[in-house]
Amino acid sequence: MDPREVNRTLIFVCIGHYVVVIGGVARMSDPKMIKEIKAAVTIPVMAKVRIGHFVEAQILEAIGIDYIDESEVLTPADELHHINKHNFKVPYVCGAKNLGEALRRISEGAAFIRTKGEAGTGNVVEAVRHIRTVNSEIRRAASMGDEELFAYAKELQAPYHLLKESARLGRLPVVNFAAGGVATPADAALMMVWHGHFILAKVLWEVRVLWKGQLGCDGVFVGSGIFKSGDPAKRARAIGTFRRFISPILIPISINYSHVTYMSPPSSVPTVQAVTHYNDAKVLANVSEDLGEAMVGINISDLSEDQKLAKRGW
């Protein structure tokens, strides 16, 4: 799969599991439902498979899905090996917390990468940590000579030629999206590139912080953080069959066991606008207004180690 063929700020529907901390195994969604969604929308459709579960992937490819997310959010099917993505025609996205992981996934055939963040928490801190880790490791590699790169590749547990290519480009050789905990338009803009410095919008946190630097994502996934906001009345209106609400913009559709839940998106269009206008603080301020209560979210330190999804993936 040629990485060129992935559009920046891709707008698509991503079908996944909202991982409820109850227990049980989270698996690929029912193909029948995926087919129905594919028939109902005109935008590309992406669906998740368990890490290492190449047969779930074969099934999804057979029903004509546009992209596959080999996702740590589902229960891994293989605790040592990821899918050999070169065996597939359909492009894959995989999550990564650091450069070594990103390059390992790319060498297995991933067409694009996303940060893992910590899915389901509405807390962007982990996504920020992951993109900053990848960026700083690439910057370090870019300053190295070949002998040092051989040693660094060993340290990162990454293929040398991909490390060298990343160092040469100053970025990953594929696009890198932000994911996992993006809960507001401001979060989305935070993860995008800002030339120079940017300002965390005052609107939600009552704090104005000047940061120098670029977080450098090529696009953003939004998920439960947008759609699990605190207003129960809005949520009640939203629960129902997806047919009642088809939006042309990104609506991640979360599957809660037997039925599909989705959110009438008070905040999803503003998030898309925030990604377009990531460097225009006035627009960001406007789109951040009146979104209702944001997802309450979870503090990462409140999660126990085995609840952390980002640890999955080798």
Binding site: E5, N7, T42, P248, V272, T276
Partner: protein
């Protein structure tokens, strides 16, 4: 360069290599739109672009721009410039219009049905020029030409899946140009040069004295 969504940065990389382009401006606001001589609408997701444009108050200004100023739509951009589109979502989708053509979205299928092929495009490149290597990703096609002014620039030279050879994949109508494929994804800048020449011709005709830009 309409930079609301999609593969705009790839177009900008090519534009920056062309000496006739004074500046390649990323257009996200009405002021930026009014500052350019010509516009490229990139590939991406046409319904998303239309929605974002509407939300930014850019949709009507875009429509006005495409009525008279040189515009090139690639893939999603071609859909937006068409007067009619089929296989749209329930309730239809908003189009900028201007090109007297009908298009069929996602003609070839989903992402896995993407393909690359060579097109001779003699009207654009010259009779004996090497073919243009065209990348088609969830591409639309032109199903009808609704005016004699529409010039066919390229047709498929091989059958692809269920789609016949001779299917129209690039057109021009005066100041408007549209391609179903993505010239910004290959290093071949001949089509971008062609569009720049088109824009220069039109600039010569108009009274505006603005930077030559996309």
């Amino acid at each position: 360069m309409l930079a609301l969504q999609g593969a705009f940065i790839e177009h900008v990389h090519i534009l920056k290599r062309l000496p006739e382009v004074a500046e390649a401006i990323l257009v996200r606001t009405q002021e930026q739109l009014e500052s350019v001589d010509a516009l490229i609408i990139p590939g991406g997701e046409s319904t998303a672009m239309a929605l974002i444009a509407e939300r930014c108050g850019l949709f009507e200004p875009l429509r006005k721009f495409t009525r008279s100023k040189p515009t090139w739509g690639t893939c999603a951009g071609m859909i937006l410039l068409a007067n009619e589109a089929s296989k749209t979502k329930k309730g239809g989708q908003q189009l900028l219009g201007g090109l007297d053509i009908a298009v069929n979205r996602n003609q070839f299928g989903s992402q896995v049905d993407s393909f690359e092929t060579d097109l001779h495009m003699s009207a654009v490149l010259g009779e004996s020029a090497p073919p243009f290597h065209a990348v088609f990703i969830r591409a639309p096609i032109v199903t009808a030409l609704n005016s004699e002014d529409v010039q066919v620039l390229a047709k498929l030279e091989h059958q692809v899946g269920q789609t016949d050879t001779e299917t129209i994949v690039a057109v021009r109508q005066g100041h408007l140009m549209a391609t179903a494929f993505h010239p910004e994804l290959t290093p071949d800048d001949r089509l971008h040069s062609y569009f720049v020449r088109l824009a220069q011709d039109y600039k010569g005709k108009s009274q505006d004295v603005v930077t030559m830009a996309n």
